[in-house]
């Protein structure tokens, strides 16, 4: 019963201006299975790339993780806990890959390691062939909490990453303006974050990452802190933004339906320490809209993923609930 209700709401409220595929990308063929579809030079994808990535793209995967092990040290006792244990993952150029798993399975640690925020104890991470040792301009993170700087306006927050890189103020502003439109915050550029709703803050968070034009966009449970309706809106918008920008994305979530809706590939993590249990290719056609949820394949895929997680953890879970 609850499912029916949420789905109906999703249908009603998901009808944002971006809920329908924009004409510019409507004719784009579904992505090839190898994930190596060429970058489409849409209005947003055409932003000046910092380095000539496209040349390296066909030979070098955007993300290459090998034998990754992450351990945490308890700051009081000095005890070591393994969070991620031997993960290999490759993400091709323009691919949207999502890691799902139970809370505390190490998926966020995995993302933080790719972001360069924590150091793995073993294994290697390379983005576009370059080994990751610390955060860099080739990656941008959208955090679960919006964490906007409260003393900067919306526009100031969006340009934050560019300001740090020494991009001239005027150019940064111009680039940010484009993303203000993309995340539908026109008219709010000069607001302080404190005056924005949670959903709007999360859009700024997203724009702040996108404007830096990273090779790899990292989404850390980006909608987990939002209410159900806002979340579904944001999923629809993210789908559309992805249709326009065709960024390579690594997302982490515990919502299986969200993972299936957005991704080309879903990677299922086991409980702690995290290992890859399975990789499921999502063959729902691209460009996708939120209506993809009504495909019969959608249910099959979510059930399949749910089954894998259920099988590994004795915990019961249904796809529509957070697990």
């Amino acid at each position: 019963m609850t499912n029916v209700l949420t789905n109906t709401l999703a249908f009603d409220f998901g009808g944002t201006p971006f809920g329908v595929a924009p004409p510019g990308v409507a004719g784009h063929p579904p992505k090839a299975d190898d994930g190596g579809a060429p970058l489409r030079e849409g209005p947003w994808g055409a932003t000046p790339a910092p380095e000539p990535v496209s040349a390296a793209a066909p030979t070098r995967p955007t993300l290459e993780v090998k034998g990754l092990v992450i351990t945490y040290q308890n700051q009081k006792t000095g005890e070591l806990t393994e969070a991620v244990s031997g993960v290999d993952l490759t993400i091709g150029h323009g691919e949207f890959v999502t890691v799902v798993g139970l809370s505390g399975c190490g998926k966020t640690s995995f993302l933080n390691a790719v972001a360069g925020l924590i150091k793995p104890v073993a294994g290697s991470i390379a983005v576009a062939g370059k080994t990751v040792t610390k955060p860099g301009p080739d990656r941008a993170v959208v955090f679960q909490k919006a964490t906007l700087l409260p003393w900067r306006t919306v526009l100031g927050n969006i340009t934050y990453g560019l300001d740090l890189r020494g991009v001239p103020r005027k150019e940064a502003r111009l680039r940010a303006e484009k993303y203000v439109d993309l995340v539908q915050l026109r008219g709010f550029e000069h607001f302080y974050p404190g005056a924005l709703s949670g959903g709007m803050q999360q859009r700024v968070n997203l724009a702040r990452a996108l404007v830096t034009d990273p090779h790899l966009l990292l989404l850390d449970e980006p909608f987990a802190a939002l209410d159900a309706i806002t979340r579904e809106n944001m999923q629809a918008e993210l789908l559309n933004i992805w249709n326009l920008t065709r960024k390579t994305v690594l997302m982490v979530t515990h919502q299986i339906d969200e993972a299936v809706l957005l991704s080309d590939r879903v990677v299922v993590f086991s409980g702690r320490p995290g290992r890859i249990l399975a990789e499921i290719r999502i063959n729902l056609p691209r460009p996708r809209t939120a209506d993809a949820k009504y495909c019969s394949d959608f249910d099959l895929l979510t059930k399949k993923i749910c089954g894998i997680i259920q099988h590994s953890a004795s915990k019961k879970a249904t796809w529509s609930y957070e697990i």
Binding site: G116, P135, K145, T147, L149, F191, Y192
Partner: protein, 266 residues
């Protein structure tokens, strides 16, 4: 709709006017009570003065220039001391809060000085710096500097870890983290520190001048008290009080302006 808004604004205005009237009323009532009891000889004006006598004496002191002379002398000491305290206190506090090892090395020393009554050092300062302004300035610096140091230290140690993480994720250097995150988020602490330092500084000026010297509000206060000029004492109390209120209100006003983003949040 329009009418409602008008109504709302009128009510708000009325509310603030009533509030103002009440606060002014309390002060006036007390002054009247004071005046009346002195006039009726319920209290001895010899010991307690009266508002009218204070005003008359005050006007006389303004006319013959003595008040201005002493205010100028005290003001010089206060501004020099306060300025130096800000100049040194803020960077020291930042260093203590930002660098873990500086913190570990110097915190015990700072706490020891922080809890100590600074006036106890006045004899030393007079020996070191003589009876001129220098000793008094030293006491003001020492009085005003600790609220600044401690507030900036706390500000640096309370930087939201999430903001720091955002900075690091977007490739900020330590220097950039400091400028774009630590400094803006420390502004409220800085303003609190300034207000506290102001109060301590005023205390320092008056205490130093009472301790020794030949001019300044504190010196005159002490002299008037010793020679039983109660009216003069009250004039000086009013002067010090007004200075404190004006300074404090201006800092408060500045903090409201600087933190306009906080108002948006409320």
């Amino acid at each position: 709709m329009k009418y409602d808004l008008y109504d709302f604004r009128t009510r708000k205005l009325l509310e603030s006017l009533i509030g103002l009237a009440m606060s002014v009323g309390v002060i006036i009532a007390l002054l009247v009570l004071w005046e009346v009891s002195a006039d009726l000889n319920l209290i001895d004006p010899m010991f307690s003065s009266s508002p009218s006598r204070v005003v008359t004496t005050g006007l006389e002191m303004i006319a013959d220039g003595t008040l201005w002379k002493h205010i100028k002398a005290s003001g010089r000491v206060f501004l020099a001391g306060f300025g130096l305290a800000v100049l040194f206190g803020v960077p020291i506090g930042v260093a203590l809060g930002w660098f873990k090892w500086v913190n570990r090395a110097f915190t015990p020393l700072v706490s020891a000085f922080y809890t100590m009554p600074r006036i106890a050092l006045m004899p030393l300062f007079i020996i070191w710096f003589g009876l001129g302004d220098a000793a008094r300035i030293a006491l003001v610096v020492l009085s005003a500097i600790f609220p600044l140091i401690v507030n900036m230290q706390v500000a640096m140690q309370n930087i939201d870890g999430d903001y720091r993480k955002v900075g690091i994720a977007y490739g900020a250097t330590q220097w950039q983290l400091f400028w774009t995150i630590a400094l803006p988020s420390s502004v409220p602490f800085l303003l609190t520190g300034l207000r506290l330092a102001m109060g301590r500084g005023l205390l320092g000026v008056v205490a130093a001048e009472i301790f020794g010297g030949a001019e300044g509000v504190g010196y005159m206060l002490q002299y008037a008290g010793a020679t039983f000029q109660i009216d003069v004492v009250f004039v000086l109390v009013v002067v010090i009080m007004s200075f404190g209120v004006i300074f404090d209100r201006s800092l408060f006003w500045i903090s409201r302006r600087v933190e306009s983003w906080k108002i948006a949040e409320a």
